[in-house]
């Protein structure tokens, strides 16, 4: 809502307060003033001039030489290029010395040999936005009506001394979609008297009811329809002040009839519609739901197909307007219009909203109907328009209004009580203060001691319950004046749950291990939605979930893996010459088995990562370490050790992963994720270098972790170590050998470490050597060498037998 302060000043005296201070007061009382716009600047050198003569320029076809009377001794000779300049006009003249918006300085100049002492101006040149300028002046200079005085400064004539406040209205404050509503608000805030317009019409004896019958068929969608008949209108431009108020409010002036309906719309917040009576071809107005498939050509010359949900105004046969949204082209007021049917109505907000949503025709009118207009202003607004038509269109207003009226104009009653108010706000207001606030708001009330029965005016449809009145009192009292307190009962102990604490520990561990936390989008493109699925997710055979109206294809499907978007981040960095990356992310994936989704999907927290480039950069201390499978595995092993979880890794071939460098991760024989290098072809496709990823079901990890650390006695007896290197076939897995050693060595073997892996020239082809370090320990006694020897020998025999291995000497 754009609020002209010159206009507002007609209803409430704001002359004593600066626009900035007023904006601040309004903002603090609940309507945010987004912008303060000065329409123009004071400029004594821009005045009204009278074009005494206008001749063709001797040396230029498109220029004219004018002599302009500016009310001083001598006329000014001005060269003008505007196509519409002519003798006898009253125009805007910028004298030499004037500065126009855009810092344009007007000087005496010679144009093609003719002296020019100033400029005849268009409205654009005074800084007025072209879209609000009446169309006849859009391409040339502005021409005043005759009644302005030569030599007069133009600021007030053109409303250039106005300041406009732009309101950012919250949806509840439909009352402030009108100048009168704003006036009530400002009068309350400033505690000032209110000057409402005096509305009266000199109706002629002829009665409107002889010209029109009003019938409402869809009474659920229209509770009031009033038809005023206005005869012999003189279509012409509206008065300057009205044009300029409309322009300040962001509406382009058209002609007096259209301008008056718009003016009343802005003043009362009540949209009106003027039909050309003679084009109705009927005396009937019938308001009904459209018939399915029925058509109407609206004012914007678009033919629209209607449905049973749309409300239409008809002439008894065919639609002549889309109720509350837009009029029909065939009954539009035009230059030759003489008689008018003026509509003032109350349409159901929901119905208007539906039609607007469907047609996309949001207008000043529909915006107000959608939020609900003030029932007590509907008819009054029609009368106000008739008054203005009488005055500014020389029209005759017929007696009476033909109406259908089932409008509920009753006021809501809300009871408040001083103690209640203070209890809820924490304030210490007196009943007198509350009474004063109600007076400022101009709400009627009856008071009995501390109790107020408030009759909320219908313009404030947003106030229906005690809490609404509570806010109303509090905001006029001033939120600033409420004390700062802490809640009276403040007993509960706050703490993170075990799960939340563990998530923080996970983060701390991973960050300590050198990973940076990333955050990516949960909505991804279709192609990525089913990539890099962890085996246990793939096993469910999930159906990717699409949003109905994506903003872009890149963000359409809910992710089933964090990895594709993480890889996008890796590629984004690579494109910016950042090659060494180690990311982790904790985020949800969205799992649904339904092909057509009906239930909320399962949301599962995943812990994923992507690593590439140099792991540790040893610039001067020898070779740097590149990220490889074992860097990633090392981090995960560290994590699982930290969380004390039993984890196994098994080689696996997964889609999009390198078939020889990928492992599925198992906990208690259940897959919970995977790690590995992404497939070289995928790397190429996504423009990545060698990149490793991991993905874990964080829920499983969080659930499995027990939060009880129990004391285990520190071993008192020494341990004994044995080393052995086995020569194995290349395809024997070192981990399988290790598992066997652990199994056979139990319970004396406390730990098995692999400390060397070798294949090459000293070994037969197809063979490798893997060296194991075994740590023996008995918690209850000192182990003897021969005990260990027996076990060690047994292990070697079993390994040799099982894996066709032999000990490397």
């Amino acid at each position: 809502m754009l609020v002209s302060l010159n206009w507002l000043n007609k209803y409430v005296d704001i002359s004593h307060i600066s626009p900035e201070e007023l904006a601040e007061r309004i903002t603090k009382s609940g309507i945010e003033v987004e912008r303060i716009e000065y329409i123009g600047e004071a400029n004594p050198d821009v005045i009204v001039g009278y074009v005494e003569s206008c001749e063709k320029h001797p040396n230029a076809d498109k220029l004219k030489v004018c002599h302009v009377d500016i009310g001083q001794d001598e006329t000014l000779q001005i060269v003008c290029g505007a196509p519409n300049v002519a003798k006898g006009q009253k125009v805007i003249v910028a004298k030499p010395g004037a500065t126009l918006p855009g810092n344009i300085k007007i000087k005496k100049v010679t144009l093609r040999g003719v002296e020019s002492n100033g400029m005849i101006c268009s409205l654009q040149e005074l800084g007025i936005d072209e879209k609000y300028i009446p169309s006849e002046y859009a391409d040339g200079i502005y021409i005043f009506p005759d009644d302005v005085h030569v030599g007069e400064r133009v600021e007030s004539l053109l409303n250039l001394d106005d300041v406009v406040l732009e309101f950012d209205l919250t949806p509840n404050r439909a009352d402030s979609l009108s100048m009168l509503g704003v006036a009530y608000e400002v009068a309350a805030i400033l505690d000032q008297p209110l000057r409402l317009p005096e509305v009266s019409v000199n109706e002629i004896d002829e009665e409107a009811k002889h010209y029109v019958n009003v019938t409402v068929e869809s009474t659920d969608l229209c509770s009031y329809y009033g038809a005023f008949i206005v005869k012999n209108v003189d279509i012409k431009p509206s008065p300057l002040w009205m044009q300029h108020f409309l322009m300040a409010a962001g509406i382009r002036p058209i002609n007096n009839v259209v301008d008056i309906t718009n003016y009343v719309l802005l003043e009362y917040g009540q949209p009106l519609h003027a039909f050309d009576y003679d084009r109705l071809n009927s005396k009937d107005i019938l308001v009904r739901r459209a018939i399915e498939g029925e058509k109407i050509e609206t004012l914007d010359n678009v033919e629209r197909q209607l449905t049973n949900e749309d409300l239409v105004i008809t002439n008894g046969k065919e639609p002549i307007a889309l109720a509350g949204v837009m009029g029909g082209a065939n009954t539009e007021v035009h230059d030759g219009t003489t008689n008018i049917l003026l509509e003032a109505a109350y349409f159901d907000p929901g119905s208007v909203r539906k039609t607007v949503k469907k047609t996309g025709l949001r207008s000043e009118a529909s915006t107000r109907f959608e939020k609900g207009v003030d029932p007590n202003r509907v008819r009054q607004a029609g009368v106000r328009a008739c008054q203005l038509l009488e005055k500014y269109a020389n029209a005759q207003v017929l007696k009476g209004v033909v109406e259908y009226d089932k409008l509920d104009r009753s006021e809501k009653t809300v009871v408040i009580n001083t103690d209640n108010i203070n209890k809820r706000l924490g304030s210490e207001m007196t009943s007198e203060e509350i009474a004063h606030i109600l007076k400022k708001l101009r709400f009627d009330y009856e008071q009995e001691n501390k109790e107020f029965t408030v009759h909320v005016p219908t313009r404030r449809g947003d106030i229906t319950i005690f809490e609404d009145m509570l806010e109303e009192v509090a905001r006029i009292y001033g939120y600033d004046h409420l004390p700062y307190t802490l809640p009276k009962h403040f007993s509960q102990v706050g703490a993170l749950t075990n799960r939340q604490q563990l998530i923080r520990k996970l983060r701390t561990f991973l960050q300590g291990a050198g990973l940076m936390e990333a955050r990516t989008y949960a909505l991804t493109k279709e192609k990525y939605a089913t990539r890099f699925l962890s085996p246990e997710i793939q096993a469910i055979n999930p159906h990717p979930i699409s949003v109905q109206k994506p903003m872009t294809e890149d963000h359409q499907y809910l992710r089933l893996s964090l990895i594709p978007e993480l890889l996008k981040s890796v590629a984004y960095n690579k494109a910016r010459n950042e090659y060494d990356l180690a990311f982790y992310e904790l985020g949800n994936i969205f799992i649904s088995k339904e092909e057509v989704i009906t239930k909320q999907p399962a949301e599962e927290l995943r812990l994923s990562g992507a690593l590439t480039g140099e792991w540790v950069d040893h610039k001067w201390q020898g070779a740097s370490k590149q990220v490889d499978f074992f860097v990633v595995k090392g981090i995960l092993e560290g994590l699982f050790q930290y969380l004390q979880l039993p984890i196994e890794y098994k080689a696996s071939k997964l889609p999009q992963m390198h078939p020889g460098r990928c492992a599925t991760i198992y906990m208690n024989n259940e897959p919970i994720g995977f790690l590995g290098q992404i497939h070289p072809l995928v790397q190429k496709e996504m423009d990545l270098k060698e990149t490793y990823v991991f993905d874990l079901n964080a829920e499983a990890i969080l659930d499995a972790h027990t939060h009880h650390a129990t004391y285990e006695p520190i071993p008192k007896y020494p341990s004994i170590e044995r080393d052995v290197a086995f020569i194995l076939d290349e395809d024997v897995l070192a981990g399988d050998v290790k598992s066997l050693i652990e199994k056979i060595g139990s319970p004396l073997v406390k730990a098995v470490h692999i400390f060397d892996v070798y294949s090459g020239e000293h070994l037969p082809k197809g063979k490798k050597s893997v060296a194991y370090n075994l740590v023996y320990q008995d918690p209850n006694k000192t182990l003897k060498d021969d005990e260990v020897d027996i076990s060690f020998k047994d292990i070697i025999e079993q390994v040799n037998k099982t894996f066709d291995a032999y000990v490397r000497s």
Binding site: Y479, T485, M551
Partner: protein
């Protein structure tokens, strides 16, 4: 015998003086002081001496032994010192060379902010609650006093999945779910951080995915001044003790009265600048007293229980606090950006 001992003494002192290495010094020690050394062999001849001379010679021999011992020790200390000096000299390193690098990780800036806010409210007795990101229309809207066709739904253009399911547009459904779970029987004191989604085009100030933190406190006798008190504490801890807060009336369907909170602009100290759009104030959060219908729908009797709720955009808070000027930075994971905030 006396002479012999004196000769040994002189000879030993002279030799010790000339020695420059530990090995030779050890040899000398053996030669003079050892079991088969010179002094011992002299003393072996003691039996031939007269009885009264023996103690005199014995004492003399002991003195000489001690003298030689201390000379050797002195020399040994000197040699050790020299050896240590030499070793230290050889071990000099260039301390200005860089250290052996370790891989440094760190949290996302939003995680950092969330944890800071969580800890602040945990300190005031709040719990941290979570909820699903794919929500039902009921919890996202209806339970929050936003029935179908409510004009305020225009404010939130949403990613619907079906007519009944959508990506939550705010974290408020977690409030409704928590109140429902508590069945109107006990106070609620919670905050809920989380990811939310709106149908916005991504640009410097809009993101189709962003984060919110909301708070809810429902109990008997909760006053609007309590909301003011809590928010004031929060703002000062979060943005600095020197910042002022201002509450303005506003509108949200789930609170009545509703507020918006501004903090004074740090850049211009309320004088007005481009950061605060010339107003001197920066909007940081919205809130208000929980609407009685919301309480009622969640099973709380609004005549007995009252409460306040507030919510803020985590991304926005982070942008304000750390001067980040493009919200997309939070989701691009540009290393040059991410690493700036590891110590935040």
């Amino acid at each position: 015998m006396k002479e012999k001992l004196e000769t040994i003494h002189k000879e030993a002192v002279a030799k010790i003086k000339d020695i420059n290495d530990m090995k030779s010094l050890q040899e000398l020690r053996v030669k003079y002081l050892g079991k088969k050394g010179s002094i011992t062999s002299v003393l072996r001849g003691m039996g031939k001496l007269a009885k009264e001379e023996r103690p005199i010679i014995g004492e003399m021999a002991n003195k000489i032994r001690q003298a030689i011992t201390s000379s050797i020790e002195e020399k040994q200390a000197k040699l050790e010192q020299e050896a240590m000096d030499k070793q230290l000299q050889e071990e000099v390193i260039d301390v200005t060379l860089p250290g052996r690098p370790i891989q440094v990780g760190g949290p996302h800036l939003l995680t950092h902010i969330v944890q800071e806010i969580e800890d602040l409210f945990i300190g005031m007795g709040f719990e941290v609650k979570e909820g699903p990101q794919v929500e039902t229309d009921y919890y996202n809207f209806e339970a929050l006093n936003l029935p179908q066709n409510h004009p305020a739904r225009d404010m939130q253009d949403s990613f619907y999945i079906t007519n009944e399911l959508l990506l939550r547009t705010h974290t408020s459904p977690v409030q409704a779910r928590t109140m429902n779970a508590y069945k109107g029987e006990k106070p609620v004191k919670m905050i809920c951080p989380g990811v939310v989604y709106r149908r916005d085009h991504d640009d410097a100030t809009h993101s189709h995915q962003f984060n919110q933190i909301e708070g809810l406190y429902v109990d008997k006798d909760v006053r609007m001044s309590d909301l003011k008190g809590i928010l004031n504490l929060f703002a000062k801890k979060m943005f600095g003790e020197d910042r002022e807060i201002r509450l303005r009336p506003s509108f949200f369907p789930f609170t009545e009265p509703s507020v918006e909170m501004d903090i004074s602009c740090k850049v211009c100290s309320k004088k007005g600048c481009s950061v605060c759009k010339q107003t001197g104030w920066i909007e940081v959060l919205g809130g208000g007293m929980v609407h009685p219908r919301v309480l009622e729908m969640a099973g709380y009797d609004p005549k007995v229980y009252t409460g306040f709720a507030f919510g803020m955009g985590t991304d926005r808070i982070a942008m304000l606090k750390y001067g980040v000027n493009d919200i997309r930075q939070f989701y691009m994971n540009d290393k040059r950006f991410v690493t700036q905030y590891h110590q935040a």
